[in-house]
Amino acid sequence: MPAGYFYSEQDVADIAAYVHSLGSIPPEKLPGDPGRGAIVYSKSGCAGCHIIDGKGVGFGPELTEVGKRRSASYLQKTLASPVSTLPDDFVFVKAVSNSGQSLEGIRVNEDTFSIQIKDDFGKFHSLRKTELKELQKRKDLSPMPSFTELLTTEQMQDLVAYLASLRGPQ
């Protein structure tokens, strides 16, 4: 796609509005029960990495509106194989400082001289690259486990139904 230098401000606004309308997934009829799914979510430790309605730790994606953005099949696929749906700009980082301290987390920003990482407590770290003796960047690794072996089929359906029901602040 060529760059759209030639669009007017109105053109850009119209295109943005159209694209935005594409991002809203209509409610689907699903086999699982959202109420039971909320319990599965709670018992499986999901809130240790995700935030819903301000509750949880912000390591993974915010899920308050995930049902508007992601279809049930996408959610099912992610729960079964988190690596398969990683965004293009996702990078899991392991950094080791010159003094030997190790840090793992998700890259939230990077430039030529520094990198900013969010750890599994949701805490941000800013590191100077000259102060690191090792910087591994993995695009094929997700901190989220596959739930295929951890949940029953019914629990998985309930969890998908719960996530699909999240369409904004309650």
């Binding site: 796609m1 060529p2 760059a3 230098y5 030639f6 007017s8 293009d88 700009d89 990078v91 920003n109 990077e110 430039d111 030529t112 001289f113 000259t130 695009k139």
Partner: protein, 526 residues
């Protein structure tokens, strides 16, 4: 208070009374090391400052002295500095700034017509030219405008091309002895490209060189089926000048339509070439085409770099460029003779360059209906931003873009004043691309050192007599490297993407470094 006012008035009078820039000053810039009188500081395109106060030993102490906030985002200006006044430009605008404080002294703005559209580029301006008592600005609606240097009042405006059919200008003009030279944008709109010279005093056109040949020019035969009439060949980056040879060297951009070469079979002269033009008449002295029959939008729109060196026992006057197609070239600037070339970035479209300087094109590198993956992408291994040459280290510095794209071919339809592309490209993901600052042997292109950047850059390079190289990154880093080793010595986060060329000048004898970063112009000093 009265005394202070008198001092200010006298100071202002002195500043304005001295605000005259004869051609001899621009032609001999080393006599005025604290000023920056033309786009690349010198006519040779070196973007090298002889100021040496800031060195590897103290660059770590650089501080922001002042900032100036532009009214528009995405600024690409390379400022001019004359007698303690800095001149910056934006789209159809110019401002004079006090170099001691950053306070504006005057501003000028020309309305952008409501039916104007930028076809293939952003609404930017890369700088002004200065000569005698005037400042020269090239506008988006394709006028060359002369302003009074002291007041910003318009003295004349000459139409260079019709913006309604796709002509536009974003470049800094080049002021030489009595003339102001400009080129045009419009390679994505099927214009007929040109280089124009105007009388600096009156604005009357002195000569015009068409980059798309007329029927009586043998080069017309390089366009099959009369395709030259929508051939493109824009000239959108400032050229350079050899005052002894009285030759202007200018880069010519892509043929139109960009990505479908089937409708314009042939070499498509003088696109993707350097042209050497007689500065008095505009007549073509020689040309050299880097990418014959280009189908990837690889304009030869880089600032050429002039230097003299001994090659194979012979003293030569040389012209060099790190071309958008991924190869570094060295030519004789008297004759245009090809002397050397080698790849300086990742490229997959050519197996090499033959003895005459013509690329040996690899198979499966043409755009197709299904798409063809090629390195570099359409923006190329280097683009409009400036390289630098240090006569002190004898190295050629260039910001390198390593990135690929899938190129597509489509049926083109020409309609005046609209995009005429014949295809498009899908750029590769950010994480598979990277940038570098490279230092090359200027006579061969051999690599001397490289410094890796997080992403392919959009900022030019400045080298200084303090043996430093300055440049910027897309992520807002403005930084200094050791000019002899490439070792990083200092960096500063400007907070916005940098897509501009740095300069250096002096305030009361103290060296300053300036760079535009998105909406802000930063000025650093010790």
């Amino acid at each position: 208070m009265k005394f202070m006012l008198q001092v200010l008035v006298v100071a202002a009078f002195c500043a304005t009374a001295q605000a005259q820039v004869p051609y001899e000053h621009i032609a001999n810039p080393d006599r005025y090391p604290g000023e920056w009188l033309t786009y690349s500081r010198d006519y040779a395109g070196h973007r090298f400052s002889p100021l040496n106060e800031i060195t590897a030993g103290n660059v770590g102490q650089l501080k922001v002295k002042w900032v100036y906030q532009f009214p528009d985002p995405g600024n690409e200006v390379s400022p001019i500095v004359v007698d303690n006044i800095m001149f910056v430009t934006g789209p159809n605008s110019a401002t004079a700034i006090d170099t001691a404080t950053g306070r504006p002294l005057w501003s000028w703005k020309r309305p952008i017509p409501s039916d104007y559209h930028s076809l293939g580029f952003g609404q930017v301006n890369r700088g002004a030219a200065v000569l005698d008592d005037k400042l020269y600005i090239a506008t988006l609606d394709c006028y060359l405008v002369a302003l009074d240097l002291k007041s910003g009042i318009q003295r004349w405006a000459s139409e260079v091309g019709d913006y309604k059919v796709g002509y536009s200008m974003t470049l800094a003009p080049l002021a030489i002895d009595g003339k102001v030279v400009v080129g045009v944008s419009g390679g994505e709109a099927g214009i007929r490209g040109l280089v124009d010279a105007y009388d600096a005093k009156t604005g009357k056109r002195a000569w015009r060189f068409w980059t798309i040949p007329a029927r009586d020019d043998p080069a017309y035969q390089t366009w099959a089926g009369g395709s030259a009439k929508t051939g493109g060949g824009p000239t959108w980056v400032t050229g350079v000048y050899d005052p002894q040879l009285k030759l202007i060297y200018w880069g010519v951009g892509n043929p139109s339509p960009d990505w479908n070469g089937e409708v314009r079979l042939g070499d498509n002269l003088y696109t993707c070439s350097f042209v050497a033009l007689d500065s008095e008449t505009g007549k073509l002295r020689w040309h050299f085409q880097f990418t014959p029959h280009d189908t990837h939008d690889w304009d030869a729109s880089q600032v050429p770099v002039l230097f003299d060196a001994r090659i194979k026992g012979q003293d030569r006057k040389l012209i060099a460029t790190a071309n958008r197609n991924g190869f570094y070239y060295v030519l004789d600037r008297v004759t245009g003779e090809f002397l050397a070339a080698q790849s300086y970035a990742k490229q997959t479209w050519a197996k090499g360059i033959d003895a005459k300087g013509r690329p040996i094109v690899a198979e499966n590198s043409e755009p197709t209906e299904k798409g063809t993956l090629v390195w570099p992408n359409a923006n190329g291994a280097s683009v409009w931003y400036s390289p630098s040459f240090s006569p002190q280290t004898n190295l050629f510095y260039v910001a390198v873009r390593n990135t690929s794209a899938v190129f597509y071919k489509r049926d083109p339809e020409y309609k005046a004043g609209t995009m005429y592309l014949g295809g498009g490209e899908d750029e590769s993901p950010q994480d598979s691309s990277w940038g570098e600052i490279k230092a090359l042997d200027p006579t061969t292109g051999d690599l001397r050192w490289e410094f890796k950047l997080n992403t392919p850059p959009w900022s030019g390079v400045l080298s200084t007599a303090g043996d430093l190289v300055f440049s910027g990154s897309n992520e807002g880093n403005f930084y200094a490297l050791d000019a002899r080793t490439g070792k990083p010595l200092w960096d500063f986060q400007t907070g916005g993407p940098i897509g501009a060329n740095p300069i250096s000048f002096a305030v009361a004898g103290r060296q300053r470094i300036a760079i535009a970063s998105d909406r802000v112009l930063y000025v650093f000093g010790l």
